[in-house]
Amino acid sequence: MVIEQDAVVDVPMLQVEDLAIHYGQKAALQGVSLAVRSNEIFGIIGPANAGKTSFLRALNRMSDFVAGMRVAGRIRFAGRDLAAIENVYALRRRIGVVSPLPVGLPLSIYDNVALAPRLRGVRERAELDEIVERCLRRAALWDEVKDRLQSLGSMLSGGQQQRLTIARALSQEPLLLLLDEFSIAVDPVTTMRIEEVLKELRQEMTIVLVTNLVQQARRLADRTAFFLAGRCLEVAPTEELFSGTVQDQRTRDYVEGRYG
């Protein structure tokens, strides 16, 4: 019998307790406690400077490499204490990240998607070919780029680059996919295509979706958190959040477009 070490089902994928993030003296996030279940799409909404991006950056321990960023509190990832994981690279390999502006690394399309597999030691050309095709297909980009895999990824259009970024994140075979306002630089049609992809991916991974489009959270998220000014005010099933049964007046104002 094969024992899947990573497939821990009976604990939340993420358990965050009293998380605080500082940049130098400036607090970006304080007192956040929440849990993200396995195989759910967890939405995070909130205005600018709410701490949404900082939250994502803490999840893959970007603070290790970013001068001045400090993380306090406790994050458990698949049952493990995040801060205690010695091999931060192995951790990050299981966490895919998609940033607001597409980052097509100035490598070829092929090399963009093959980078993570190569970093984890895949050398066989056939295996890399297979991974690249599978990930590009799943990111709904394969048909558009299959004839020019060797051209520069950074030359693609914004929407294509964003799907390339998603393909690259999938090539990590992530347990957790973090999306940070992925649709900012993407046209509505591409956004819809990516949203369809995300709904399929939920079968295989957990997705944390930061978005400033309230309706996008409504369309995709199973549960949604509302961040405001560095605090998490509300975590609720998305339908409750939008049906007006939430506690906090500020949350209600925000989802109904009356905030700010």
Partner: protein
């Protein structure tokens, strides 16, 4: 005649700002032309007065008859040795230092002190570098007066330029690229090697160009560390002394009597030719890479 809508007529204030703008444009154009004149003048003078001295024999012969006849072959080859030697030392050291300063070093007192030191090193006069080279490489490291000592001296002199050019090009790579690579599970070094450096090559080549230009042209740093007044044989190892174009030019211009008038100009012309052709190679290389760099 076209009819212009009266409402588009410039007001007095707009008239004035347009006049001022035109005046500044002319001023800058004038300054640029004035600055270009000496360069063109030097090239023209060298070509007119030096080209009669050029011939295949001039490139391939040894100097003869007390430097007043013959060619510059050993000096030409010596300059190539010195320049390549200086590059071979300065480039790896400079790029390594720039990578450390840009990618690893935190913003602390040590880093700031190192940066100040680099800026000051760039301001040290070349004759001081020469004396340092004599002390450090010729005597202390026991290289003797040799190509190795002279190359090292030139390398120390050009290091700041290489470091600054490389560091600037590393910092021009968007931070988002680094974070994207890190989040794929790449180490800092993997990120530098696969993502940052390939996008900095053109900046590093700029450093190479500046390094070559200085190394080829400088006389003082090599005078006491490895350049010889006259060596008919080509150097066989880096521990030999060698002639060099810049030092040869200094000698035929000021130290030797009865030199035919065209000879120093011909040497100077070759010297400039060497700098320009080495730079042209690096620039061509850089343009090819630029074509690939897009974000």
């Amino acid at each position: 005649m076209t009819v212009v809508d009266a409402t588009f007529r410039a007001t007095a204030v707009e008239q004035r700002s347009m006049t001022v703008q035109r005046a500044f444009q002319l001023l800058f154009l004038f300054t640029t032309i004035v600055l270009a004149l000496p360069v063109l003048g030097i090239l023209a003078e060298l070509l007119i007065r030096g080209s009669p001295g050029l011939s295949l024999a001039f490139f391939l012969d040894n100097p003869r008859n007390g430097m007043t006849e013959g060619g510059i072959f050993p000096a030409l080859i010596g300059t190539l040795w010195l320049t390549v030697g200086a590059l071979a030392v300065a480039l790896p050291l400079g790029v390594a230092a720039a990578i450390y300063l840009s990618e690893y070093a935190g913003d602390n007192r040590l880093t700031r002190a190192i940066n100040v030191a680099i800026v000051n090193l760039a301001g040290v006069p070349s004759i001081v570098h020469a004396l340092f080279g004599v002390g450090a490489f010729v005597h202390f490291m026991r290289f003797g007066a040799s190509i190795l000592a002279a190359s090292c001296t030139l390398a120390v002199m050009t290091l700041p330029v290489v470091i600054v050019a490389t560091r600037e090009s590393l910092q021009a790579v968007p931070q988002a690229f680094r974070e994207a690579s890190w989040s794929l599970g790449a180490t800092r070094w993997q990120t530098i090697w696969r993502v940052v450096l390939p996008n900095s090559v053109s900046g590093i080549l700029t450093g190479v160009i500046l390094c070559v230009s200085r190394a080829v042209g400088e006389t003082a740093p090599i005078m006491f560390t490895g350049a010889a007044f006259y060596v008919p044989l080509l150097p066989r190892s880096v521990f030999d002394q060698t002639m060099a174009l810049s030092y040869h030019l200094f000698n035929v211009s000021t130290q030797v009597t009865n030199v035919p008038p065209h000879l120093p100009f011909a040497v100077a012309l070759v010297l400039i030719g060497v700098v320009l052709s080495m730079n042209a190679t690096a620039i061509a290389f850089r343009m090819r890479l630029r074509g690939r760099k897009k974000w």
